[in-house]
């Protein structure tokens, strides 16, 4: 731990219980650790995708995009779930750290939602013959993407940063309420999207090599997500300090 010699500032004290004592060194260490593990797993996963996993019989080579598409979708849900959780926590405890996690997760969630929406059509053009169909799962994902965009528009347009934090937390919570509702509301329609192959009541139904590759990719994406999240969180905390110092009376 660093010892702090910096003078106390009321503006910094408002930043949270830790104020400036919070050195972020631990955050950086964890970010680097997760990043190394994630990159290692990703390289291993890439090797598996191209040299280990068999080519799927029906869809052929294009099926391999599944090893990027599914982990992206998983990371997207993880990120937006974290946004809702930290938003609720922020409105309750008003700890700027929770807001910093929420906004970092929202940004990364938006990134992975974009990846899902880019890799999906690439596969769909070959498998379905169309880039896009208005199908429950696709529509749901697109809506989630728009909610992510709205989150940042709202945050940026608020009259002051503190309001922006509150408003985006509100949107983060309402969006999280809405997502399962949208999901349930469209389940009665027949879905064109492939059914789950792993998480199903009667057990996994796929070649073991395909499943192993998928799991390595899932872990790789999860660790990369954690690493990105911590890096972005550190940046957000620094930014909060800069804003607090600027706003503080000299």
């Amino acid at each position: 731990m660093e010892t702090t010699t910096r003078p106390e500032s009321p503006a910094l004290a408002r930043l949270g219980p830790a104020g400036m004592d919070d050195s972020l060194a631990g955050t950086r260490r964890w970010a680097a650790g997760f990043g190394v593990v994630g990159m290692g797993l990703l390289l291993w996963g890439l090797w598996m995708v191209f040299f280990y996993a068999p080519t799927e019989a029906e869809m052929g080579i294009v099926q391999r995009i599944f090893y990027v598409h599914v982990p992206s979708a998983w990371t997207m849900f993880l990120a937006f779930g974290l946004v809702a959780l930290c938003s609720a926590g922020y409105l309750w405890l008003r700890d700027p750290k929770l807001d910093a996690i929420a906004v970092s997760a929202a940004e990364i969630g938006l990134l992975f939602a974009t990846l899902v929406l880019l890799t999906g059509p690439l596969w769909a053009r070959v498998a379905w013959g169309a880039w896009w169909v208005w199908e429950p799962r696709l529509t749901l994902t697109l809506l989630l993407w728009f909610m992510g965009v709205a989150y940042f528009m709202l945050r940026g347009a608020a009259e002051n940063p503190e309001r922006g934090r509150r408003f985006s937390a509100i949107l983060g919570i309402v969006a999280a309420v809405d997502i399962p509702l949208i999901h349930l509301s469209v389940q009665w329609w027949r879905s064109q999207h492939p059914k789950p192959v792993v998480m199903r009541p009667e057990g996994a139904q796929a070649d073991p090599a395909i499943l192993q590759t998928l799991f390595v990719c899932l872990f790789a994406f999860t660790f990369l997500f954690l690493s990105l999240l911590l890096i972005r969180y550190g940046m957000e905390r620094l930014q909060q300090r800069v804003h607090a110092l600027r706003a503080a009376p000299r």
Binding site: L91, T139, L143, F146, M147, V149, A150, M153, L154, A157, A158, E159, R163, R166, F167, A169, I170, L171, I173, V174, A175, V177, D178, L181, I182, S185, V186
Partner: protein, 256 residues
């Protein structure tokens, strides 16, 4: 057009009714009856303002009728209007409703009247529900215009299904206005203002739109009421969930 000055005076007059109601709750937790009295006081103030200026109902109504006219030449004549009327009507309701929502809190912001309302001992939940009630009444009034106009222009018939249709409209509007009132308040405190409302609202409103369109379309083609019961239940569930969540979150919007 009403002058801004006139509006402020009206607002002050309308708010004079409030302290009387709020006084007996100043020291204690709001009990059931006085909570409802607070809700009614806020709703009454908004409805009184609307009754005097009629600016929201008139602008929303004019807009809705114009949209119906635009649909008449946007839609290919070979397509039977009856098969897409449910979607046309609800898109019109959404746009007209969104148009009016911006005014709900913009008015309060203009003369900084919101500060006055917040200083009065009105419960935040009661303030939200009052605003919601007033917005409901205004949008329902506009819908009472939209449905007959579409029925007239596109020769639709809702005969025999009017009670079910009324239930669909009320439940869908309840959910729509719960989200709309919350994000109307949010948008009023941003630089983008009313421009932001549709961007925030349209993705969140998806479930309401899905079920309202489906139910309206079924009633329109003469399916029995028993065919829309599941949609009615879902609309009711969404209205309740949105009302609960939005009432709980409203305090975080208006705090200073």
């Amino acid at each position: 057009m009403p002058r801004p000055g006139g509006l402020v005076t009206e607002m002050a007059v309308a708010e004079r009714a409030e302290p009387r109601v709020a006084d007996d709750t100043a020291s204690s937790e709001p009990a059931g009856a006085s909570f409802l009295a607070q809700v009614w006081a806020v709703a009454r103030k908004d409805l009184l303002l609307e009754a005097r200026s009629r600016e929201r109902v008139l602008s929303m109504g004019t807009f809705a009728v114009l949209v119906a006219v635009v649909f008449s030449f946007a839609v290919d004549p070979s397509i039977r209007a009856r098969s897409i009327a449910g979607a046309m009507i609800w898109v019109t309701v959404l746009f007209a409703g969104t148009l009016g929502l911006g005014r709900s809190f913009a008015l309060e912001k203009e003369a900084d009247a919101l500060t006055g309302v917040l200083l009065s001992p009105v419960d935040r939940g009661a303030l939200f529900l009052g605003k919601w009630l007033a917005n409901m009444a205004i949008v329902l009034a506009v819908e009472a215009l939209i449905f007959p106009v579409f029925a007239l222009f596109f020769t639709l018939s809702f005969q025999g299904s009017l009670p079910a249709l009324a239930a669909v409209v009320v439940l869908a509007t309840a959910g729509f206005m719960a989200l709309g009132t919350l994000f109307g308040a949010v948008a009023a405190h941003t630089r983008l203002g009313e421009t932001l409302i549709p961007i925030l609202l349209l993705p969140l409103l998806t479930p309401v739109v899905i079920f309202a369109c489906a139910a309206t379309q079924r009633l329109l083609v003469g399916r029995p009421v028993s065919d829309v019961v599941s949609q009615l239940k879902m609309l009711g569930a969404f209205a309740l969930i949105f009302l609960f969540v939005c009432t709980a979150l409203f305090g975080a919007v208006v705090e200073e």
